[in-house]
């Protein structure tokens, strides 16, 4: 077993085992163990990334049964990018939570008093991390399902750590998450019944070889898309997200917004681009076989529907964010808005009609490059969102822990005395609005140019309007915090505690800096995504 293979397995098993061990530890030990394991996970990420950098997929056959029966872990370019983002964000959140145990939740003691600090955070968070990594490296749909469930149940537990007020939100989230999973499960069943395999690559191959499976596959894709879109909180299935993400403890909100919804999103992208696209996208099937045309049409209608919902999400989410008066709901609505970006690529993937460009023959894109570019752009947006959103939620958490409030009006002017947090907010604002040199900007650039090259001109106004709207609500959120309040007789909010540990500042700041540094990674991300992609 090579180092890369070992690390791939360890990425799932280490957090899982540590979650079990943590359940038995004392509070202090949990925090210590948490930091150690988080560093270990980052360490395991490195050899996998390096291996992928050499252009080969990592495949681990646990138990050596082989597909379709055995458990196969497979890390391709898409997996490893999500893993890398999760590791970085996870380390930052772990550091924040370990330094600020008050941010991990609220528990009710025997005497009826509530106490801030909940040790349940640690096993739940590492269980969640294990689930995420399992989803990312899973080679088959069954493990994907199990991983998703693990993520869902631990995430519900994490939301519930917020104390009494967050229980209804947690329950509501649970209903949605389970309903989404059930739809996904049925879809998996349908796919298995026509392909006879759970393995993702084999299933894609089977669909390509059996045109008669197309009808069932289309139904499966519809069910699966609805189920996963519920978990990603795509408008109009977004209402559960805001109370859950904004009501959760300070250390939990970034996990939910930056990572948990990315698990379902990953499966969504995996199913559309790695299972359905090779079989049914006219652009990819031209060479490999006959595309059942009516199925391609049916799927492209579904693709358009989801892109349209994405568009609505971008607008509705931004407008709702503009109307918030508290920091965390505003950030949560920004997640609802940003989720819209991640669905815009579907029509591009299914109809990259570069002929309609009327180009002078100097355009450099062919159909598979359009798909690769659109995916690279979308992944850039997703990863950029993960980094920026976690930094932003941690910053909001920082202020909430320090002042005991997250009302924008009450915090007005306070940010000035925390220069590092001001910088972090600035960096995340650039990252979320997608301005240069952030990863989101690079992502938007690739998505837009690939889509335009594919004849999808509508994407340009969409991206521009979305960018302006996001800049507007971010400015609205941060402007008052940075106003000069010194001379007026403004009421300063009372300190909830005397100070915050340095780590609680450094962790979000580092993530904020990463949103910009990764802006220069456009080409490496594109190259990594080509590893194991069906169109490369």
């Amino acid at each position: 077993m090579t180092l890369a293979e070992f690390s791939t397995g360890a990425l799932v098993l280490t957090p899982l085992l540590s979650a079990a061990v943590m359940a038995l530890c004392t509070h202090v030990l949990r925090r210590l163990l948490g930091v150690v394991v988080a560093v270990l996970i980052v360490g395991f990420t490195v050899p996998v990334v390096i291996h992928l950098g050499s252009g080969e997929v990592v495949e681990v056959d646990l138990g050596a049964y082989g597909a379709p029966l055995g458990i196969v872990l497979r890390a391709d370019g898409l997996s490893v990018l999500f893993i890398a983002m999760t590791s970085l964000v996870g380390l930052g959140i772990t550091a924040f939570a370990a330094a600020t145990p008050e941010a991990t939740g609220e528990r009710i003691q025997a005497n009826g008093q509530s106490k801030t600090e909940h040790a349940g955070f640690w096993p739940l968070w590492f269980g969640c991390w294990a689930g995420l990594n399992a989803v990312f490296v899973s080679g088959d749909l069954f493990n994907t399902y199990v991983g998703l469930e693990l993520v869902g149940l631990t995430a519900v537990g994490l939301v519930a750590l917020g104390g009494q007020k967050s229980w209804p939100a947690a329950l509501r989230y649970l209903f949605i998450a389970v309903l989404g999973s059930l739809l996904f499960l049925v879809a998996v069943g349908l796919l298995v019944s026509v392909t006879g395999t759970l393995d993702i690559n084999q299933a894609a191959q089977q669909l390509t070889d059996n045109p008669e499976a197309a009808g069932v596959a289309t139904v499966a894709m519809v069910l699966l898309s609805i189920g996963l879109a519920m978990k990603v909180a795509l408008v109009p299935m977004h209402q559960w997200l805001v109370p859950a993400h904004s009501g959760a403890p300070s250390a939990v909100s970034p996990i939910l917004s930056a990572l948990v919804i990315k698990g379902a999103l990953f499966v969504f992208l995996r199913s559309w681009l790695y299972v359905a696209a090779p079989a049914y996208s006219p652009a990819l099937t031209e060479t490999s076989g006959e595309a059942p045309l009516n199925v391609a049409e049916a799927l492209s209608i579904v693709a358009w529907v989801f892109a349209l919902l994405g568009l609505i999400a971008l607008i509705v989410g931004a407008i709702m964010a503009l109307r918030q008066t508290r920091l965390k709901p505003l950030i949560a609505y920004s997640t609802v808005a940003q989720a819209g970006y991640w669905f815009l690529l579907l029509p591009v993937v299914f109809m990259p009609t570069s002929a309609s460009l009327g180009d002078p023959g100097v355009t450099t894109f062919d159909a598979s490059e359009v798909i690769a570019g659109a995916l690279a752009g979308t992944v850039g947006l997703i990863l950029g969102h993960g980094l920026a959103k976690s930094a932003l939620f941690l910053t909001a958490g920082y202020f909430k822990e320090l002042y005991g409030t997250e009302k924008i009006a009450a915090l007005s002017g306070e940010a000035r005395s925390h220069p590092m947090m001001v910088m972090t907010m600035g960096l995340t604002a650039i990252g979320l609005a997608g301005l240069p040199f952030s990863l989101s900007f690079t992502g938007k650039w690739q998505l837009t140019s690939a889509s335009l090259a594919g004849g999808h001109y509508w994407i340009l106004p969409v991206i521009i309007v979305a960018t302006l709207l996001s800049a507007a609500y971010l400015l609205r959120a941060f402007g008052p915090l940075m106003m000069d309040n010194d001379q007026e007789n403004a009421a300063h909010p009372e300190l909830h505690r005397n100070s915050m540990p340095v780590v609680a500042q450094v962790a979000p700041f580092t993530l904020g800096v990463l949103t910009l540094l990764t802006g220069f990674m456009g080409t490496p991300i594109f190259d990594l995504l080509e590893v194991g992609a069906p169109w490369s």
């Binding site: 002078p360 220069p419 590092m420 690079t442 837009t448 335009l452 090259a453 220069f520």
Partner: protein
């Protein structure tokens, strides 16, 4: 002389050095004034030295040191020192050094200095990036970055007026940036990477042949986006409002950073993306010439109406900066020379004037022109520097302004649009009308007895103003010596016209 590895690294080093200054300054405590000054001045000086060290390589040998890295597949980030980049980055690095000194004096004892100088350094980073950009995408990225990092500087005082002005500034420039973005994305789709090449990028020439309409639309988008920062009428609305910024910021905004970045972009688009030949064949130059002429007249007219000194200077910028566009769009060798050289000359003259305006305000509290009677007796050195700057703006020999206007005049006579000469004359007349009364008030009235005492100007603020005033005369008188801006501008202009068929 061969290009060594060091030469390739210098462009990147120029950008990273400014960035490192910001990174070092942000965490400093308010009290660490000395340390901040040392970091600022050391890095600013090293940058000037670096860029000057490239003079013999670029101008003497005609070599263009270049650093590039991949941004997304098919598109590179390129930093390249060609003649125009050299000219502009020398201007910005040296004026930056002076402004830093001025700002240290200006902000002495005022709050939030670390934040100010931090963003100031980020602003330099963006400016240097803009001047060294070797292709359109790199330019765009630094251009947008400049927008973002100047916002906190405009809003620095945190007063409602400042916050409002900063917000309007952001609204204008972000929208402009988006329009530019659309143009760049669109162009990139057709041609791939758009490298800056003297005489026009290859792909763009092909595009213009294939579909003139698309080429024209993209040109309008690019210039429209750039026109916001360069304050082309009617996109100039933010500039007079932005005057609430601290004096060194205004000085920079007008002389080297924001406004200049816009104009510099227009020079790049006209000369190095489309090329004069293609642009004039597409019929794009004459409309731009007309817009520039209108801006010149309108800006001068508005300047005449202002009684607030900084506002008058702001409208004067609106007018003066369009000389650059005017020069370019004449499509003659002398016109382009005049335009490019004015990029430098206007910067030096305008920064002098803004330095002085800040000095007047800080030492005597005078902001209105009416209150400037006899100020020459109270602040003789400042007033002298102001007078030199103003005479330069009018174009009196032997100042730098005279050189620009002379070149532009020759260019106008050579071109098909000889009517432009009347614009130049009218504008010079208006320049005199709004500057001469100030000079007259300064020197030909005695101050009121109550405040007749001479005032001591802060040294840190006075010296930069005197140095730039000296440069206004020095560059004008010494325009023909080697490596003077005029000579470099001529070299650039020859490059631009080397492929153009003579009419």
């Amino acid at each position: 002389m061969e290009l060594t590895n060091l030469h390739y690294v210098i462009p990147l080093l120029m950008v990273l050095l400014s960035l490192s200054a910001a990174i070092m300054i942000f965490p400093m405590r308010e009290g660490q004034t000395k340390l901040r000054a040392i970091v600022n001045l050391t890095i600013a000086t090293v940058k000037v030295a670096l860029i000057v060290s490239l003079f013999p390589v670029v101008l003497g040998e005609g070599l263009h040191p270049e650093f590039s890295m991949s941004f997304v597949p098919g598109i590179d980030l390129v930093l390249r020192v060609d003649e125009l980049a050299l000219l502009f980055s020398t201007l910005s690095s040296s004026l930056w050094l002076l402004t830093t000194i001025y700002a240290i004096g200006y902000l002495h004892g005022k709050p939030h200095q670390s934040r100010f100088f931090g963003f100031f350094s980020l602003c330099v980073t963006a400016s240097v990036g803009i001047s060294l950009s070797g292709n359109l995408v790199t330019f765009l990225l630094f251009y947008e970055m400049l927008t973002l990092v100047t916002y906190p500087l405009v809003a620095h005082w945190g007063t409602p007026a400042a916050v409002r002005a900063a917000r309007i500034y952001l609204r204008y420039t972000l929208t402009g940036g988006l329009v530019l973005l659309i143009g760049v994305v669109w162009l990139t789709i057709y041609t791939g990477d758009v490298d800056f090449q003297s005489g026009g990028a290859e792909g763009v020439t092909e595009l213009a042949e294939y579909s003139p309409t698309i080429a024209i639309i993209i040109f309008i988008l690019l210039i429209g986006g750039l026109g916001v920062k360069s304050a082309l009428v009617p996109l100039h609305g933010w500039l007079p409002l932005a005057m609430v910024a601290p004096a060194p910021v205004s000085a920079l905004l007008h002389a080297v950073a924001v406004v200049k970045a816009g104009v510099f972009g227009i020079v790049r688009v006209v000369d190095d993306v489309y090329g004069i030949q293609v642009a004039s064949e597409l019929g794009l130059l004459t409309p731009l010439l007309v817009i520039a002429s209108l801006t010149i007249i309108y800006g001068s007219y508005q300047a005449l109406r202002q009684l607030d000194l900084k506002k008058r200077l702001a409208y004067s910028t609106v007018s003066q900066v369009s000389y650059v566009v005017l020069g370019l769009t004449m499509a003659t060798v002398a016109g382009t020379t005049g335009g490019v050289v004015h990029l430098v000359h206007q910067g030096i003259m305008k920064i002098t004037l803004f330095f002085c305006a800040g000095l007047f305000q800080e030492t005597t509290g005078v902001t209105n022109i009416r209150d400037m009677r006899g100020i020459g007796y109270r602040m003789p050195l400042t007033s002298l520097a102001f007078t030199i700057g103003a005479l330069g703006m009018i174009g009196i020999p032997p100042t730098a302004g005279f050189i620009s206007k002379w070149q532009l005049g020759i260019g106008a006579l050579d071109s098909d649009n000889t009517w432009v000469i009347t614009i130049l004359l009218a504008s010079s007349l208006m320049n005199s009308m709004y500057f001469l009364p100030i000079i007259y008030r300064m020197w030909f009235f005695y101050p009121q007895i109550a405040d007749a005492r001479a005032v001591a100007e802060p040294k840190m603020m006075l010296w930069p103003a005197l140095v730039t005033a000296g440069l206004v005369v020095g560059i004008g008188a010494g325009a023909s010596i080697a490596y003077a801006p005029l000579e470099i501008a001529e070299q650039i202009s020859e490059g631009v016209f080397s492929d153009v068929d003579s009419p």
